[in-house]
Amino acid sequence: MLLNQFLLLSAVLFAIGVYGVLARRNGVLVLMSIELILNAVNLNLVAFGAFRETVGGEVFALFVIAVAAAEVGVGLAMVLLLYRNRRSIDLTQIDQLRG
């Protein structure tokens, strides 16, 4: 069974996603990196589902895809608004919630 390869791919994708989230300053890129992380998870779920021969993995993956779509919708709307207000989508400049 080719589980290890899928998990390895998934780990690489996850790591790339984490790097994107932490390192990129562009809001859109951060959202895209989040998508990468989620898809790494999806890959995991589907791989484990196939490995265990249940459909649970696919079902969860479908849920995650739906949620991710919604998330990206909201996230993009926020970035759009951010850009309208501040003419920038640089995340390092946005720290109004600082305590």
């Binding site: 989230v21 932490l22 995340l91 390092t92 720290d95 919630l97 600082r98 305590g99």
Partner: protein, 753 residues
């Protein structure tokens, strides 16, 4: 101790014979009406007196008039009742010592023929402890005699007062309290028990207080009133204790009884020997203290002369004829107790006789140095009261009562006479404002002379007979009779003789200073009106004839049926009265005592009527003493005079030491303790509590408890300050933390699982 045994209770002869009956004549059973009348008059005058045309005095006079009539009828009924013995006597179940009971069983009657039964009537007053306390009347010889004396003198004083205090600022008030006094005194004499007696005793005292202080605007008057009341209170302390002791003593002797105030029972038990001698002695001594204050016996007599600050009718009624004899009457009433307590029988001296004897001399001596005519009479009253107490002390009961009877008349006559004099000269000072009044006031002069001769004790006036009986009663004479009393009280005989001489002498001085010589006052004195002179003549008349009521037994000039009438009707022959012996009269004693009196009159008469009169002529003015009299010549006489003038320094002792001491240092000390010690302690406790509170607040509360609270607060704020740095607001740093934490958690998970 003899063995105790019980005689069964029965009404047909067993038990202790009390000598009282529940039956009797209507007037004897309803004697309570007599005190009630003046009591009603008091209430009437108090509430309506001011609106009456004569200011309420008519009510007082009317009530006393009716009371006097009732007393006369009661007296007649008693004369009827006295010898009317049908054996319906009251008995009480009682525990007695057999030896004494046997000894006294035969004495019943005391050699006076068959017994006289006192009429006894009670009603429930109150009850406590299941014991019923009664109020009631005990009517017998002495009670009836006192009823007559009190109502008569009171009536005369009322009539006299309508003139004497006419136009006074508190005329109505004066009569109200005169009525209340009469009511209280009448209640006292008919009292059935000692508690009732005690109440009446205090009530007459308070009337005396109010009437002495009648003109209370002047401080000396209210001082005198206070002194009278307080001195009497000292004695009343004895009365309270004595009555209490007797109450329980009787209770312990009577089975099924908690205690008893009944005079008849107390006396009967005391006479029967059922009460221990010690108890009776203690009770007698306590009661004696009350007598000493009320009846002005040495050394509690000092209030009586001061009491002359009151209006003269008050002095006559209260401080001569009636209230001050309450003590004497109380001894007579409780004679069973005193007789046993002081062991009067078969002795030659006892406390009562000695105090009485001493008082007669002490009082008589003081009468010599007074300028104030009323004070002369006051000291004379003290002296005569001492005579009565002495008589009771030696066992001459009848003689004492007889002297009380005659003394009431002649002393009231003298006092009212002095009032009449002062009415004319507006003063009581014999030396500066009187003299030669016989020419101006013939009625007053004559009645005063009659009173003086009666007081001095010259035959055939009243004082002679009663004084002679007392001297006989001492049983100390022994020359051709004069023996056979209750003991050989020779010392008392001597004291009585000496006082007879002194009395005659000081009254001679008083009469000389008032009525002889030349008038030394101002203005023109004139005789008083009929409302003053008529009572004077009535009393003077009685002072002449009262003595014939008790001619001695064996007095050959009168038929036998006239002898000892007073004694027969007044002296109880009953279970509640001790079996006393009577002395045999003696011609020789009568002659000698008369000679003594004449001697006293002669000595004083020689000094005043001869020497002073002669010196006055030489000097050209009316003198009162010789300029070179004995007091200026002899140091011893001067010292004696100084001692007397200062009243033996008793007032200095009482006022200066006892009263001022109590009011001053002692009270201040007690109050100081209160403020400085007890109250200080309380304050100190309070202050300490406050201080402790402050300490606890500052040290514990603020520092420890509150400190902990504050510390925790600042600690959390500091932590927050640190933590807020993490909260950078940058999404990516949050994410970094999130991932770091997730990594750590994942690591932990791996390590644990």
């Amino acid at each position: 101790m003899t063995e105790l045994f019980t005689i069964a209770a029965s009404t047909d002869g067993g038990g202790l014979a009390l000598g009282i009956t529940e039956g009797g004549n209507w007037f004897l059973r309803n004697v309570w009406l007599i005190p009630l009348l003046p009591a009603l008059s008091f209430v009437g005058i108090l509430f309506f007196g001011k609106r009456m045309p004569r200011g309420g005095s008519e009510l007082g006079v009317a009530s006393l008039g009716i009371a006097f009539l009732l007393a006369v009828v009661t007296g007649a009924a008693w004369v009827d009742h006295r010898d009317d013995y049908h054996g319906e006597e009251v008995y009480r179940a009682v525990v007695v010592h057999d030896a004494h009971a046997d000894a006294h069983a035969d004495d019943h009657g005391g050699g006076h023929g068959h017994p006289s039964l006192a009429v006894h009537r009670t009603a429930t007053w109150f009850q406590t402890n299941g014991v019923e306390f009664t109020v009631g009347t005990l009517v017998d010889g002495p009670a009836v005699m006192m009823l007559l004396v009190v109502t008569l003198v009171s009536l005369l004083v009322h009539v006299y007062s309508t003139d004497y205090v006419h136009g006074d600022r508190r005329y109505t008030h004066f009569f109200a309290f005169l009525s209340l006094f009469s009511a209280s005194m009448l209640l006292l004499v008919v009292s059935e028990n000692t508690l009732q007696l005690l109440c009446a005793w205090e009530l007459v005292g308070v009337c005396s207080f109010v009437l002495i202080g009648h003109w209370w605007e002047e401080k000396p008057n209210s001082d005198a009133a206070l002194k009278a009341f307080l001195t009497n209170r000292v004695g009343d302390m004895g009365l309270l204790v004595g009555v209490t002791v007797l109450f329980f003593a009787v209770g312990s002797a009577l089975p099924d009884r908690f205690g008893s105030f009944s005079i008849a029972e107390t006396n009967a038990l005391a006479s029967s020997g059922a009460l221990s001698h010690t108890t009776l002695l203690i009770a007698s001594c306590c009661l004696m203290a009350a007598v000493m204050s009320k009846s002005g016996q040495f050394f509690l007599h000092t209030w009586l002369p001061d009491a002359m600050a009151g209006p003269t009718p008050v002095s006559a009624l209260i401080h001569a004829a009636t209230m001050v004899v309450a003590g004497v009457f109380m001894i007579a009433r409780m004679y069973g107790v005193f007789f046993e307590g002081f062991q009067i029988d078969g002795s030659s001296i006892n406390l009562m006789a000695f105090i009485g004897g001493l008082t007669t001399i002490v009082g008589a001596c003081l009468a010599f140095v007074q300028r104030d005519i009323k004070k002369v009479l006051a000291y004379s009253t003290i002296s005569q009261l001492g005579y009565m107490v002495m008589a009771l002390g030696v066992g001459a009961w009848t003689a004492a009562m007889f002297h009380l009877f005659t003394h009431a008349f002649f002393k009231a006559c003298l006092f009212l006479g002095s009032g009449s004099v002062s009415h004319a000269v507006h003063s009581f000072d014999m030396k500066s404002d009187m003299g030669g009044l016989r020419k101006h006031m013939p009625h007053t002069y004559r009645t005063f002379m009659i009173g003086t001769v009666a007081l001095a004790g010259l035959p055939p006036l009243a004082g002679f007979w009663s004084k002679d009986e007392i001297l006989v009663g001492t049983g100390g004479w022994g020359l051709l009779g004069g023996t056979g009393g209750n003991g050989a009280y020779t010392l008392m005989l001597g004291m009585g003789m000496l006082t007879a001489a002194l009395t005659a002498a000081y009254m001679t001085r008083c009469v000389y200073l008032t009525f002889f010589g030349e008038f030394r006052g101002h203005g023109q004195p004139h005789e008083s009106g009929p409302r003053i002179t008529v009572p004077l003549w009535i009393l003077a008349g009685l002072a002449v004839v009262a003595g014939f009521m008790n001619l001695p037994k064996g007095f050959q000039m009168a038929p036998g049926s006239f002898q000892e009438r007073f004694g027969h009707f007044v002296e109880p022959v009953a279970g509640y009265f001790p079996a006393i012996s009577h002395g045999t009269p003696s011609w020789s004693l009568a002659v000698v005592s008369t000679l003594v009196v004449v001697g006293g009159i002669a000595a004083a008469g020689w000094y005043y009527f001869v020497k002073v009169e002669a010196a006055s002529k030489t000097a050209g003015t009316s003198l009162t003493e010789l300029p070179d009299g004995p007091t200026t010549k002899y140091p011893l006489a001067r010292m004696g005079h100084t001692l007397l003038a200062n009243k033996y320094y008793l007032d200095h002792l009482y006022n200066g030491v006892v009263v001022d001491g109590t009011k001053g240092p002692v009270a201040r000390f007690a109050y100081r303790i209160n403020q400085q010690v007890i109250d200080r302690t309380v304050d100190l406790v309070g202050e300490t509590a406050v201080k402790a509170g402050v300490t606890v607040y500052e040290k514990v509360d603020q520092l420890v408890v509150d400190g902990a609270v504050n510390a925790s607060g600042s600690a959390s704020s500091a932590t927050g300050e640190e933590l807020r740095k993490i909260n950078s607001g940058k999404v990516q740093s949050y994410a970094a933390i999130l991932f770091a934490a997730a990594t750590v958690l994942a690591g932990v998970l791996i390590v644990i699982v």
